[in-house]
């Protein structure tokens, strides 16, 4: 936090520091920007991984719902604009509202495809993307939406002399809180234990008299809640545009592939790896960031398809 003091120092002082530790400050700022990208990916991919781990459904429409969350946050922010706290309220509101949508989707649609083949499930959730993206267009229109940030996260902060978007600190913080919260939930609570048991063997959980369909519904709702939270956190980063979800869903898949399906720790590590690869390849090979990410993903799938922390049980 010493750096906060530097921030208020004179410009020449700052430049002196920058000159002295140019490489380090640049690397550190890239590291933080990669970390915030990783935190965002973690918020999205953790829900995806949770849903896949428990229900064995790879939800192609996860990022489309994430985008709905971003638009919902924008709408809530717009309604609450007179109040200073509007952004901080609209993010959790978006998550809650999207959870309700997720609940309805599970009850009406997802429930019907549990016993279908993998390809049918993939194509079904793929078709959901078309519907959701088109509904977004109908409801919110084609114009980009932008949230005006409150002053506290409006200007960059200087950490070791390198500028960093101060909102990124909030993103990293949210990612960390969710990671710890999920870890606590899965390893310390009764329902968390049930979910972990369901990842391992649904038949056994069912045999113990636990209503698996109910577990499915709530796991799906939890996953979509995380997507809504991620969407809300994403909303003020740039402008919200149609089709933003297209690239994000594939990156979330890559995160889950690298980390391992159904592993929370794996998803966390995978998110950070992908975020950092992106941030650092900007320094060395600006056009190659995405290429590098897919090279890493392909190598991982070839040598270790179940990922860093996954177990090779389902193919």
């Amino acid at each position: 936090m010493e750096t906060g003091g530097r921030n208020s120092g004179s410009k020449s002082e700052r430049e002196e520091i920058t000159g002295e530790s140019m490489d380090f400050s640049l690397i550190f700022s890239q590291f933080l920007s990669g970390l915030s990208r990783g935190a965002m990916l973690f918020l999205i991919a953790s829900g995806l991984s949770l849903i896949f781990g428990v229900m064995n459904i790879l939800n192609f429409a996860h990022a489309a719902l994430w985008l709905v969350g971003a638009y919902l946050a924008y709408t809530f922010w717009n309604l609450l604009q007179p109040y200073g706290f509007s952004l901080w309220v609209s993010i959790p509101l978006a998550a809650v509202a999207l959870s309700a949508i997720g609940w309805a989707i599970e009850r009406v649609l997802i429930r019907r495809i549990y016993n279908r083949t993998l390809s049918e499930q993939l194509v079904f959730t793929f078709a959901m993307i078309l519907v959701i993206d088109n509904l977004i267009k109908i409801i919110w229109g084609v114009q980009d939406k932008a949230i005006v940030r409150p002053s506290i996260v409006a200007s960059p902060v200087f950490i070791f002399g390198a500028p960093l978007d101060s909102y990124f600190i909030f993103v990293i913080f949210t990612g960390a809180v969710v990671a710890i919260g999920l870890w606590w939930f899965l390893s310390k609570t009764k329902y968390g234990h049930i979910i972990k048991a369901a990842v391992f063997s649904r038949e056994m959980v069912s045999a113990l008299g636990i209503p698996v369909p109910k577990i499915y519904t709530w796991v799906f709702v939890l996953g979509i809640f995380l997507a809504g939270l991620a969407g809300g956190v994403q909303a003020p980063i740039g402008s919200i545009t149609l089709g933003m979800d297209n690239a994000v869903i594939i990156q979330a898949f890559i995160v889950v592939v690298i980390g391992g399906f159904g592993s929370l720790l794996g998803t966390l590590v995978g998110s950070i790896i992908v975020g950092e690869i992106y941030a650092f390849s900007i320094l060395f090979w600006p056009d190659g960031a995405m290429i590098l990410i897919f090279v890493v993903a392909a190598i991982m799938l070839i040598i270790r398809p179940w990922g860093l922390f996954g177990t090779p049980m389902r193919t």
Partner: protein
């Protein structure tokens, strides 16, 4: 009694289907004299996308694996034709052959890794490779034109009218379909079905499962490349979006609509998908909404697609696991 009854039904059904195909080809041949230029364009699109979808179904229907990166081969074919014609002025016919070869070569490299995996891992690895090639094409401005794509890919003078291009595409697509049909009916095609239904048992019979899968993957990739090669001069420009994963979804949708259990199912799917697309976008911009709902309804209520429905009506039975029908 029962058996001969079924047999009779089956024969008349098969004959009816053959009759239908002849009728469709005759209709296709006289089509340009009936419809206007707009719908001839739609018909060309149906043929090209249908070829793309049938090639996808070589992997999906006959090998039992869902490829989510098939657009990579389609795009490689399109870019091969585009680059050869625009930069080196190579004739269209030679460029088309080159498109098949280059897409096949890409499929050989990518397939070498992909066929080691099955199920969800196969789907994601094909998706990853597809996106890898997409981003390379997208970023490599000096060679591929980056996100601007390539413009001004003109068909040769002889094919410059839309009707001529339609007939040219019709002949190429029918020839390609006949080749793929014979492959699917050959011992090789039946080996693929055996691998799909039980890879382990097929391996016990002494068959090199991986090599068969790789050959099938290359064949499918090469024909997707041919379809892509036909697309460039038809559209007169190409863009990296031809390789994106959303493009890979189109043959998947067509196959789901038409039915993966029959050889021509994906072509039927292409007719329905492309026609609906052209028709619906005429009066509303909500095409994705409509096609999305249609796909979801088909999966929920008629997993065999349109062909599955037709087969059911004809056969009055559900024992259609032979997968040998046209």
């Amino acid at each position: 009694m029962q058996w001969s009854h079924n047999m009779r039904f089956f024969q008349s059904y098969a004959m009816k289907k053959q009759l239908w195909i002849i009728v469709v080809i005759i209709i296709a041949a006289i089509l340009p004299t009936i419809i206007g230029a707009f719908w001839i364009n739609v018909a060309v699109e149906i043929l090209i996308m249908g070829l793309f979808a049938v090639s996808f179904n070589m992997i999906f229907g006959y090998m039992g694996q869902l490829s989510f990166g098939h657009a990579a081969f389609y795009g490689v074919g399109a870019y091969t034709v585009g680059l050869l014609m625009a930069k080196l002025s190579i004739p269209f016919s030679l460029s088309l052959i080159a498109a098949m070869l280059s897409a096949g070569a890409f499929a050989l490299i990518i397939g070498y890794f992909c066929i080691r995996l099955t199920g969800i891992y196969f789907a994601i690895l094909t998706l990853s490779f597809g996106q890898l090639i997409y981003y390379i094409v997208f970023e490599w401005y000096s060679f591929t034109g980056g996100d601007n794509g390539l413009q001004g890919i003109a068909a040769p003078h002889l094919l410059s009218s839309v009707t001529a291009y339609y007939y040219f595409t019709l002949v190429i697509v029918i020839a390609a379909l006949i080749v793929m049909w014979y492959i699917s009916r050959s011992p090789f095609g039946y080996t693929m079905r055996a691998i799909r239904d039980n890879a382990n048992r097929t391996r016990f019979l002494g068959i090199n499962v991986k090599r068969y899968m790789l050959i099938n993957f290359v064949i499918a990739g090469a024909f997707a490349g041919l379809a892509g090669g036909l697309w460039g001069p038809f559209n007169q420009s190409i863009s990296p979006d031809l390789l994106n994963w959303t493009e890979s979804g189109i043959p998947v949708f067509m196959t789901v609509i038409g039915g993966s259990a029959s050889f021509l199912g994906p072509m039927v799917g292409s007719i329905i998908y492309t026609f609906l697309n052209a028709f619906v976008t005429g009066f509303t911009q909500y095409w994705p909404l409509i096609i999305g709902i249609v796909i979801m309804l088909i999966i929920l209520f008629s997993p065999g697609g349109i062909q599955g429905l037709i087969d059911k009506w004809y056969k009055h039975s559900d024992s259609s696991d032979e997968n040998i029908e046209l």
